[in-house]
């Protein structure tokens, strides 16, 4: 039986159709990443699965039950930091234990266990306002790890975390997978989605591709990607670089561009020369294997993340 089954789900707000017939099946124990840009409908889909929103049409089942009858099986972590900053970490978890009906002694026991599991035992009695972003996120994950939860749904959990907090957080998710918890990770970060056993790419309310991360990359036909850091970024530079890509595919990044071309070795010296001609210097140039964000760009010609 599938842990999560979504069939032809649509969601409309007035004339705005946010989800357009989404089909999704997540097997028990699977780590599924749903990746797409802001506004693609991924958070709406997650909130329908956890019965915070209702679909306009379609069918959703959690282990064969309607979502509202399967709430005890789901641990949902919304995008926002929902823990109370003026309570301690332990008080926050005791609150959730109380909501779930644990007696005081049982709650104490299980909360101490959870704090240990997420590595916050020593900071349990500190107010959450004194926690780092990573510590707070781990605490919030713990609210979804009470016994009985079989599916963990995480909405953009690593947004705003520094690299080391992000690594630690993702390590925790990998640990949880060993306990056969089904994980649905909502993200716009390709590197986070790479950790999943299956990735669905969502755009404009539709899942446009779905496979294992390597399968998606293979199917995209993308070869190596040239990653260039440039002294200036302009339309002129982008246009020039696009000449080196068969399908005129150039993605702007924070520090320069990513160029998708067939013959990387041959293209690099020519790119450097051409940039020189238009008065732009390549400060760093390297080839990389394509990422899931590149695959998304190839399929939609849109970037998953906005360039700052």
């Amino acid at each position: 039986m599938d842990a999560i089954s979504v069939e032809k789900v649509t969601k409309k707000y007035g004339d705005n159709e946010v989800l357009r017939g989404v089909d999704l099946k997540i097997a028990e124990g699977e780590f599924y990443a749903l990746m797409g840009p802001n506004g693609s409908g991924k958070t709406t889909l997650a909130s329908i699965i956890v019965s915070v929103r209702s679909p306009s049409s379609g069918k959703i089942e959690i282990y064969g039950k309607k979502p509202e009858n399967a709430k005890e099986l789901i641990g949902y972590i919304p995008q926002e930091n929902f823990s109370s900053p003026i309570l301690t970490g332990k008080e926050n978890l005791m609150y959730f234990a109380g909501l779930l009906g644990y007696s005081k002694n049982a709650a104490e026991e299980i909360v101490n266990e959870l704090l240990n599991k997420i590595g916050l035992s020593e900071d349990a009695n500190k107010r959450v306002s004194n926690y780092s972003g990573g510590m707070r996120k781990r605490l919030e994950i713990a609210t979804a790890l009470f016994p009985g939860v079989k599916i963990l749904i995480l909405d953009e959990p690593t947004t705003g975390l520094d690299p080391s907090a992000r690594r630690r957080f993702l390590g925790l998710i990998q640990e949880l997978r060993k306990e056969m918890t089904t994980v649905l990770l909502i993200t716009h970060i390709g590197a986070d989605a790479e950790l999943a056993s299956k990735v669905g790419l969502i755009d404009e309310g539709k899942i446009i591709a779905e496979d294992e991360p390597e399968g998606l990359k293979k199917a995209s036909g993308l070869k190596d990607v040239i990653n260039i850091e440039t002294s200036i970024k302009s339309e002129k530079v982008a246009k020039m670089l696009s000449k080196f890509s068969e399908k005129k595919m150039v993605m702007e990044t924070d520090v320069g561009y990513r160029v998708y071309c067939e013959e990387v070795e041959k293209a690099i010296p020519e790119i450097v020369r051409s940039l020189d001609v238009i008065g732009c210097k390549a400060t760093k140039i390297e080839t990389e294997k394509p990422s899931l964000e590149d695959v998304f760009f190839k399929l939609t010609e849109k970037m998953v993340r906005e360039v700052s």
Binding site: S47, V50, S51, V52, R53, S54, K71, E72, I74, Y76, I77, P78, Q79, E80, N81, F82, S84, I86, L87, E91, M94, Y95, F96, A97, G98, L99, L100, G101, Y102, S103, K104, A107, T143
Partner: protein, 257 residues
């Protein structure tokens, strides 16, 4: 440990640990008890001063209950919604009514504490009351009505004003303005006729007048509210506000989009 107790514990801790809440609900009314007790008693006969101070302590206790219900409760609701806690709760096997009962019990407990501290400061400043046991019980009932009516207004604010700051400031604004124009903070007899009519319809000022009448006397309440019509109106309008707020909260805050 049930859902009600979990929500009660969390909410009361949040009330007690936020300086803004402590200021508006406890420190501000106490400040006015101190100012009123020592600044507005010049040329007042000494036998009247202690009862005037009693009336001021009652007014400020009523004001403390107003800010607790109208500002603290909506601030707490808006905060939980803004930081995604309501979404998280909606995804859990939780009964919304138990969440609501927990919040209201926390509000009532905190309101009792605030009213007690304000009255205690009044006592220390020389406030005196003359009451019977029955009058005291009736007064507690009217304090409860002030809390319920304030909570009703608070739930309406918390439901419709989405922003935390906006919810708190709206509540404080409504509490201050209505307290000023309805005779909670100013003597009823000083009000123009139109505002006197409002004061007798507005359940909070009406309850406050009942308490002043029962614990201090008619001359301090400004009128004798103890009629069947006025009592019924006060009880019904308090309950109407409370249940109106409750319906809005349960329909709109916990509603699936």
């Amino acid at each position: 440990m049930g859902q009600v107790k979990a929500t009660l514990d969390k909410t009361i801790k949040e009330f007690l640990r936020q300086k803004t809440i402590l200021f508006w609900t406890i420190a501000w009314p106490i400040l006015w008890v101190l100012i009123g007790s020592f600044s507005f008693v010049k040329n007042v006969p000494s036998e009247v001063v202690s009862y005037t101070r009693g009336a001021i302590a009652i007014s400020m206790s009523a004001f403390a209950l107003m800010t607790a219900g109208m500002a603290n409760l909506p601030g707490n609701i808006a905060q939980d919604r803004e930081r995604g806690l309501l979404s998280k709760l909606m995804s859990m096997p939780i009964n919304p009514w138990r969440d609501f009962v927990g919040r209201i019990l926390a509000l009532l407990a905190f309101s009792c504490l605030a009213a007690f501290l304000v009255t205690l400061v009044g006592f220390v400043c020389g406030a005196r009351f003359s009451y019977s046991f029955v009058g005291l019980l009736q007064s507690i009932g009217f304090l409860l009505l002030i809390s319920l009516a304030s909570a009703g207004i608070g739930m309406l604010i918390g439901t419709f004003v989405k922003n935390v700051h906006g919810a708190i400031m709206s509540g404080v604004g409504i509490a201050v303005v209505t307290a000023a124009i309805s005779g909670v903070m100013t003597p009823y007899s000083y009000l123009p006729l139109l505002l006197q009519q409002f004061a007798s319809v507005y359940p909070i000022s009406s309850s406050s007048s009942f308490i002043t009448f029962l614990l201090v006397g008619e001359e301090y309440a400004g009128y004798n509210p103890l009629s069947a019509g006025q009592t019924t109106l006060t009880i019904l309008s308090s309950l109407l506000l409370f249940f109106g707020g409750l319906v809005a909260y349960s329909r709109f805050c916990w509603r699936k989009e």
